[in-house]
Amino acid sequence: MRVRSRSFLVVAVPVAGILSAAYLGLSPTRLWPGEGHWRVLGQFVGAAFSPTLTSESDLAINILPRTLRATWNTVVFAVAAISLSIVGGAILAVVASERWWRLFPVTRSVRPLLYGSARALIAFMRSIHEIIWALALLAAFGLNTVAAVIAISIPYAGTLAKVFSEMLDEAPDDAAQALRMAGASSLQVFAFGLVPRALPDMGAYAFYRFECALRSAAILGFFGFPTLGKYIYESCGELYFREAWTYLYALVALIVVVELWSGALRRRLTVV
């Protein structure tokens, strides 16, 4: 049975791919760029080797301060968003965890309803991308910093909540059982037996999400928020590719630095 369904997939996936390509009218010849496109693409790639600190629209302007400010803004947006997401995500994770409700025998009959509704809320938050949340919040509140942070936080809190609650439900419960047998209350068993077992994984995952939040914060610049994305978008629009690459390299450098830092922290968190 399993073997048959697997061979079905092997056939079905490429067939689905070909059908959807046909529906979209994709053909290899249309993917091939025209003369003008080639030139622009060449300029873009070529500019990667000559990023500039001088504004391409006004040679009197040095863009280094602007780059640093935008990088700093990106970090601040991401830190604000991930902090809010961790708080919201942790609370939702507990409510969505099966083990949490199992600690309270009175909830037995309504338990699936309780964590089920929490999971439905989490799924809703996650299923809408931060760009769409940003569009909606922009329409409501205008170009407001809080709106941008919340736009990132909603789907991020959802994702953190989903993963955190799975970590809580799958963490080893040996210490929790020992504490229960030493007379600890349900709340104590959860807080001192289960949460510490899940915490290193939760911390490591939160750091990974922080890296994602940096990219999301940069992207929200496309809407005019003063992060790196704003300047990347503006420079590319004017075909100032050398300038654009300066911002892109700043973003890459930022991600690499955070990656190295969080990698070191993660190794400390998950000691074997």
Partner: protein, 261 residues
């Protein structure tokens, strides 16, 4: 004195079944306060289930289990918590939080006596007096220098001592230890059993220990309970037991070899 008149643990025709398996069958038992009892028998004999019965982690399917004269089934959840906080249980696999420090694990032993907020403070920011007390207990089990180390940096034998320290920090009336020497080398095994029985004598604790190792059981416990296939085969003073009693105990278990004996 009430202490000597009421047995600590009383089993009256207690049976426990796991699915179709009979884990404990019509067990009758009385353990007085301050007694040192070794529970021996082949693996799967029901020794661990017997121990878990005593702390209310397993419920009898039939029969009556009394602790301090009160039937387990008559105890409320709150009452059971209070009872458990007076019984230290040392698990075969230690059951510590590996990514926390030794002191945090030991302090967690007293959760049963604390409200939630108090326990948050004591675990997060232990007071000087608590640190001193934990240090004294760790000194007793021989690893005072490990107090601020993470548990996952310790050896198996050291983790075992942390588990003992956590149980002692409860200031218990009884200690139950499930195969405490299964994860330590033979030289350490003797130390561990010697230590447990010595502490129990000094503190006047009731001590029940399940053991695979018959030699250690005979050396350190004045009373031995032999179990095989869920039944109590013998329960008497160690001095009254012969080698043949032990051989019979293991022979009952469809020819399982005498281990560690």
């Amino acid at each position: 004195m009430k202490k000597t008149s009421t047995p600590r643990f009383t089993l009256d025709q207690v049976s426990v079944r796991f699915r179709e398996n009979q884990a404990v069958e019509r067990a009758d038992l009385e353990i007085a306060p301050g007694e040192l009892v070794g529970i021996v028998g082949p693996s799967g004999a029901g020794k661990t289930t017997l121990l878990r019965l005593l702390i209310g982690a397993v419920r009898p399917d039939s029969g009556t289990l009394r602790v301090d004269g009160i039937a387990m089934r008559d105890r409320s959840a709150r009452d059971l918590r209070a009872l458990r906080s007076r019984i230290g249980f040392i698990h075969q696999d230690h059951r510590l939080v590996p990514n926390q420090r030794v002191i945090t694990n030991v302090v967690a032993g007293r959760l049963g006596r604390l409200g939630f907020l108090r326990s948050l403070i004591e675990i997060g920011w232990p007071r000087r007096s608590e640190v001193v007390q934990v240090h004294r207990i760790l000194d007793r089990v021989g690893i005072p220098e490990k107090i601020f180390e993470r548990v996952d940096s310790l050896s198996g034998g050291q983790m075992q001592r942390v588990a003992v320290a956590r149980a002692l920090y409860q200031e218990p009336e009884s200690l139950l230890a499930d195969e405490p020497v299964s994860s330590v080398d033979p030289a350490r095994a003797r130390d561990t059993v010697e230590q447990l029985t010595r502490i129990a004598r000094e503190e006047d604790l009731t001590l029940c220990v399940t053991l695979h190792n018959l030699e250690l059981a005979r050396e350190f416990f004045p009373r031995l309970i032999g179990m095989s296939r869920g039944r109590i085969v013998f329960d008497c003073r160690t001095a009254d037991l012969f080698d043949s009693d032990f051989q019979k105990l293991f022979a009952l278990d469809s020819g399982e070899m005498l281990q560690n004996a």
